[in-house]
Symmetry: C2
Subunit: 595 residues, 2 copies
C-alpha cells in the first residue's frame, strides 16, 4: 500500500499515513492540488507557517512505463498567490515510487535559524540539521551530498535564491547519472516555500525499494508496450533517420530547443522583451546549434568530451530530449539541459545570440536555484528599464552573479520575479499573468497559447495547456489556424488532458504521440487504468483537478479579471505579422465556464 | 457655472466642458471617484494610456468656509491597482475654486520623451513643453516656478520618483506662503500616474478669479460662521490656553504629531516594523518636541528663526495644524510640515528617535516626490531584511539619497513601495492592504482602525475612516472600547462621513468638532446645502461615493479576500497589550454588506 509521509516542521516530527480511499486514484498533480486545496488556507501567506509543501511522484513513477518518472511539487505560490503545481524529471520521483510513497506533505515552520534536510529511505525518515548545506551553489551542494550519501540518492530542494525567499526560486532536482542540479520544478517560486520552511534538501535513497505493483499486471505490460512503440514511431518523440541515415527532427536529436527555429519561422518567437516575433540570432542558440557544438567537440576531444544530446532526464525516459552543452574550447560540461524555454528566456528574449553566454546564464540559474523563465523575463525588465542593454550577454551574466552577494540589492531584485522587478524599475510592459512571467510563445500571433496563459490556474504557463502542439506542430497532420480567435475549447481540452498527464507521472511530451496515434492514447490510458484497476476517464479526471485548482484560486481572491493578458498584448502589434491579441474576454471566460 | 477642463495628452489638446447636471453636486472625492469609475477601464494598466488623472477642488474651495481648501486627486492607483483618491491642502484647490473649475480630467499619454506642464489661468489653459522642470528636486523646482510665474501660483505635480513611475510617488503641492513642496496628495502612487503622462506640474494662477457664489448666500454665511465658532471652541481644533495662560493640546500647538505620545500611551504606536506598540523614543520626535525646538530656536535666533507651529496649510485654514521644523543649530527652515504619520513612518517605525534625522528623511521625501507613509514602511523592509539596522537614521538617510541616482537599483527599490521592496528582500511581515502600506496605528490593540484598513476602497488608509477619533480620542466625551470586535458599523459610519467631507473641500479634521458639537455638524451640512441650494444627506452622499469606488474595485478584480489584514497581525501578539487582530472575517464583510 502506498503511504503518505507527513512532516511537521514546527516540532520536527513526522508520521506515516495510509492513503485514504478518497485519494486512492490521486498522484502527481492531482495529489498535490487536492491536498493543497483541502488543507491550505487559500488566503494564507505563502511564505509563512500556514502554507504546506506537497510532493508527489506521478502515479506510474518507479514502474517500467516509458517516460513516467515525473515529480510534482505543490503549494500556494509566492509568485502567483494562487495554487501551484510544478513538475520535473530527475531521480526523486522514481525513487519515491519505488519506496511506495504516494506523497510527502510538509507543514509548519521551525523556530530558529537552522537549516534542515529530510532524509528518506525504505520506511525511514530523518529530519536533520544540515547547516553546512545552506548557502552553497547547487553544483557544490549536490556533489557534496552524493559524497555524504554514496547510494546516489535523488535530491530536490532549494538554492540560495529559495533560502532568501526570492519569488523566482525553483525547486531543483539532480540529474540521473551525475549530480547536476538541472532538473527544475521551476515555476511559481516553490523554491522559496522550501526556504520559508528552512528545508534545503530532501534526499531520497531507494536502495531497498522496489517497483510498485500494478493491479492488473498483464494489461499494464501490454499498455506500456503499446505506448512505448507509439513513442518510438513518432517523429517528435522517436529518433528517426532519413534515407541517407542522417538524423532528422525529433527531441532526441535537438531537444526541446528544436522549437527555436520553428517558432521563429512562425513569427511567434518573443524577442527583446516581446517586441518582435522574429529573432535574427535564433539559429545560433537553437537546438541545431547545440547538436552541432556537441558533435564538433566530440570530434575534437574524443572520449573526454562531455557534450551530449539524446540524454534522458529520468530513469524510465525513452524520449531523451535532454542535452549537455559543452564549453566550446575544452569540450567539458557547461550546462545541462539547455531547454527551449531557457534558451529563449536567457537568449532570444534578451537579444543574446551567443550560445556560450546563454549556457552560462543557464548554469548560474541552476546554481542559484532559479527558474530560468522567470529570471530571463526579470533580466529583460532590467534591459527594458535601460539598466543594461538588450543583447549584452556579459552584462546579464554580471547582473545575475550579483545574486551570490547577500548584500546586493540588485542581486535580490534579479531573483524576485518579473513583476516585482519590472514595477520597481518603472516598466509598464511587464509580461506576466497572475504574477508569473510568460514563456516562449508570443500570444499575439498564436492565440490558443494566449488563452492558456490567461486562464491557466497556474499563471502564464505553456505546459498547462500546450496548444502549440495543435497550432504550430499539428495534430494528426492538421494544423489549427494559430490566428483563429475561438480557442477556448482547444485550450480547455489541452488543460484538462494535461492535468491528467501531470498526475500519471508521464512526461508531457507523450502528448505528441497520444494525439497523433490512437494506440499511443490507448497505451497511456490503459497503463493508468491497469495500475489502478479502474477505468479512469481522462477528461473527467483532468477537469476534476482543474476544478479544485480554480476553487482554491477563487477563495484566494482570483476573479476573471485575473484571467487576462497584460494590456500591451492588446494594444501593441507584434512584428512581423503585426497582430495584437484579439481574443475577447467572453472567449477567455468560456474556458472555465460551467466547470 | 463651474466648468470641467479636459486635457488630452495624446494630441496635447484641451477643451472646456459644462458640468453635466448629473454631476452637479459632485466635487472633490465624489467628483474624482465618479469620473474614474465612469470613464476608466478598471482593468487597465494604471501607468499606460488608458488611465486618467482626475483633479477636483472640494466643493467649497475658494469660498470663505473655514478650512475648506482641500484638493482631491484621483486615478486608478499603480500601488493598489484599485480606485484612488488622495487629497491635500496647499494653494491649488482654492485657486481652482476661484477660477470656477470643478475638475480637470487628464487623458492619454504623449509620444516622445518631452516633459510637460499645464498652465491654467482664468479661462485659459496651456500645455507646455517644460523639460527644464524634469529631474529637479522639488524644492528647486517650486522655487524656479515661482520665479517663472511671479503671481505665486498654486503648483501640483510629481517629482523624480513619479517621473520614474515609482509606486511610492505622491502628488506634491506647494505651501501657502512659500514654495515648499510639502503638501502631499501622497498615497497610492498617484505621482507615478502624473509621470506616466509625462506631466511634471500643473500651475494655477487665479489672479483674475473670484470666490464662487453659493446658491443661498445668507444661509451659507450663517452656516460657516456656526462651523467656525464650533472649530474655535473645540480643544482639538481651537487654540486654547489653560488658567495660567499656557497653551494646551490642540492642533495649532502641537500639530497632528500630538498623537505620538497619545498613541504610544495607548500601546498602539507601531514600532520597529510593527513589532511593539510602544516606542521608548516617542517623546523625542513628538509634536511637543517640535514645539519646544521651535520656541528654543526663536528665543535664540529671534526674527531670523524659521521654525513654526500653528501654521496654516491652505488660505482658508483656521485650525493651523501645520508646522515648520527648524535646524537646531541655525534656526533655519528644515522641513514643513512634519505630520504625525510622517514622524511615525520615518521615525518610530524605523526605531529612529533623532528629530533631525526624521526631519531630514521627511525633507528628502518631499524633495523626491515620495509619500512618507509608503516610503517609511519601505525603509522598514530594508531594516527587517537586515540591509540596514533599525534605529540607524544616518543609514536610512543614505539609503533614501540613492534615489537621486537614476542608475541606483537600491534607489529605485526604496521608491517602489513596501510590498515590492518587502517581497524583493524576502520579508514576510509586510504591512500592506491592497498593496498600500499601513499608517501609524496598530490595528491589533485598536480594532476599528484595523477594520478601516482592511475594508477601505483605498487600501490601508487611516484617513478613509478615522475611527481613532472614537476609539482613542472619544466622541462627546465617550470613548469606544478600542479592543471591542464589533467595529463594522463604526468603520462604515466613519468611512461614509469621510467620503462626504472629502468631497466638500473641508479638512477632515473638522470631524472632531462636528462629532462633538451639533452646531458644528449643522454648520458643515448647512454650508454645503446652501452652496448647492439642495438638501444633501451626509450619509447617503458618502455611501454613494463608496459604492462607486467598491464597484470599480470589484471590476478591477477585488474580492473580500482583499479586505483582510496581512497574516502576521492575526498571529503575532503586539506588546505591551499582547493582543492580535481578532476581528472575524464576517465582521469585516459586514462593512460593505448590502451597499
Amino acid at each position: 500500500m502506498a503511504k503518505i509521509l507527513r512532516i511537521n516542521m514546527n516540532d520536527l516530527s513526522y508520521k506515516w499515513e495510509e492513503v485514504p480511499s478518497k485519494w486512492e486514484t490521486l498522484a502527481g498533480r492531482a495529489f498535490t492540488s487536492t491536498i493543497v486545496s483541502e488543507e491550505v488556507d487559500p488566503k494564507c501567506h505563502p511564505l509563512r507557517e500556514k502554507n504546506k509543501i506537497v510532493i508527489s511522484p506521478g502515479l506510474l513513477a518507479g514502474t517500467k512505463a516509458p517516460s513516467s518518472g515525473r515529480l510534482s511539487v505543490g503549494a500556494k505560490s509566492p509568485l502567483t498567490e494562487g495554487i501551484k503545481e510544478a513538475n520535473a524529471g530527475g531521480l526523486t520521483a522514481t525513487k519515491l515510487g519505488r519506496l511506495g510513497i504516494r506523497g510527502i506533505v510538509i507543514e509548519g515552520m521551525p523556530k530558529g535559524n537552522d537549516w534542515y534536510s529530510i532524509i528518506i529511505s525504505k520506511d525511514k525518515c530523518e529530519i536533520k540539521v544540515t547547516n553546512e548545506y545552506a548557502g552553497l551553489g547547487l553544483y557544490d551542494l549536490t556533489t557534496k551530498i552524493w559524497k555524504d550519501y554514496p547510494n546516489k540518492p535523488g535530491i530536490i530542494g532549494c538554492g540560495i535564491a529559495g533560502q532568501r525567499l526570492s519569488k523566482a526560486a525553483g525547486v531543483f532536482g539532480n540529474n540521473i547519472e551525475n549530480t547536476d542540479p538541472g532538473r527544475y520544478a521551476g515555476r511559481g517560486g516553490l523554491g522559496a516555500v522550501f526556504g520559508s520552511k528552512r528545508i534545503v534538501t530532501i534526499i531520497t535513497d531507494d536502495s531497498e525499494g522496489k517497483a510498485p505493483e500494478p493491479k492488473d499486471s498483464d494489461k499494464f505490460t501490454e499498455s506500456i508496450t503499446k505506448l512505448r512503440e507509439a513513442l518510438r514511431a513518432h517523429p517528435v518523440t522517436g529518433k528517426l533517420k532519413d534515407d541517407k541515415g542522417k538524423p532528422f527532427g525529433g527531441l532526441a536529436n535537438y531537444g526541446t530547443n528544436i522549437l527555436q527555429n520553428i517558432i521563429n519561422e512562425a513569427g511567434g518567437l518573443p524577442t527583446r522583451g516581446f517586441k518582435s516575433g522574429r529573432f535574427e540570432g535564433a539559429a545560433k542558440i537553437s537546438g541545431e546549434a547545440v547538436h552541432e557544438i556537441v558533435d564538433k567537440t566530440r570530434e575534437k576531444f574524443g572520449d573526454s568530451a562531455e557534450g551530449r544530446y539524446g540524454h534522458a532526464c529520468h530513469p524510465a525516459c525513452v524520449m531523451r530530449c535532454s542535452n549537455v552543452v559543452p564549453y566550446e574550447d575544452t569540450g567539458k560540461h557547461h550546462v545541462g539541459p539547455l531547454e527551449y524555454e531557457t534558451a529563449w528566456a536567457l537568449g532570444t528574449n534578451l537579444g543574446i545570440d551567443k550560445l556560450q553566454d546563454v549556457a552560462e546564464l543557464n548554469r548560474l540559474c541552476n546554481d542559484l536555484g532559479l527558474d530560468t523563465i522567470e529570471t530571463g523575463n526579470t533580466i529583460a525588465m532590467f534591459m527594458e528599464a535601460g539598466v543594461i542593454d538588450f543583447g549584452d550577454g556579459q552584462a546579464a551574466i554580471e547582473l545575475l552573479k550579483k545574486a551570490y552577494d547577500e548584500k546586493s540589492i540588485e542581486g535580490r531584485l534579479v531573483c524576485s520575479g518579473t513583476k516585482s522587478a519590472g514595477e520597481a524599475l518603472g516598466v509598464t510592459r511587464i509580461p506576466v499573468v497572475k504574477g508569473q512571467a510568460l514563456p516562449a510563445y508570443d500570444p499575439r500571433p498564436i492565440r490558443g497559447i494566449g488563452v492558456t496563459y490567461a486562464t491557466s490556474t497556474m499563471g502564464a504557463d505553456h505546459t498547462s495547456g500546450y496548444t502549440i502542439a495543435a497550432e504550430i506542430l499539428g495534430v494528426k497532420g492538421k494544423v489549427t489556424d494559430p490566428r483563429a480567435l475561438d480557442k477556448a475549447e482547444l485550450s480547455r481540452a489541452f488543460q484538462s488532458t494535461t492535468a491528467y498527464i501531470d498526475s500519471s507521472g508521464y512526461c508531457l511530451f507523450i502528448a505528441f504521440c497520444i494525439l497523433d496515434n490512437d494506440d499511443g492514447f490507448a497505451g497511456m490510458k490503459g497503463s493508468v487504468d491497469a495500475f489502478l484497476g479502474k477505468d479512469i476517464d481522462v477528461t473527467e479526471y483532468g477537469l476534476a483537478v482543474l476544478k479544485k485548482e480554480r476553487e482554491f484560486n477563487a477563495k484566494a481572491g482570483f476573479t476573471n479579471a485575473d484571467d487576462r493578458l497584460p494590456e500591451f498584448f492588446y494594444t501593441e502589434p507584434l512584428p512581423p505579422h503585426n497582430v495584437t491579441f484579439d481574443v475577447t474576454d467572453e472567449e477567455l471566460d468560456m474556458v472555465y465556464k460551467d466547470l
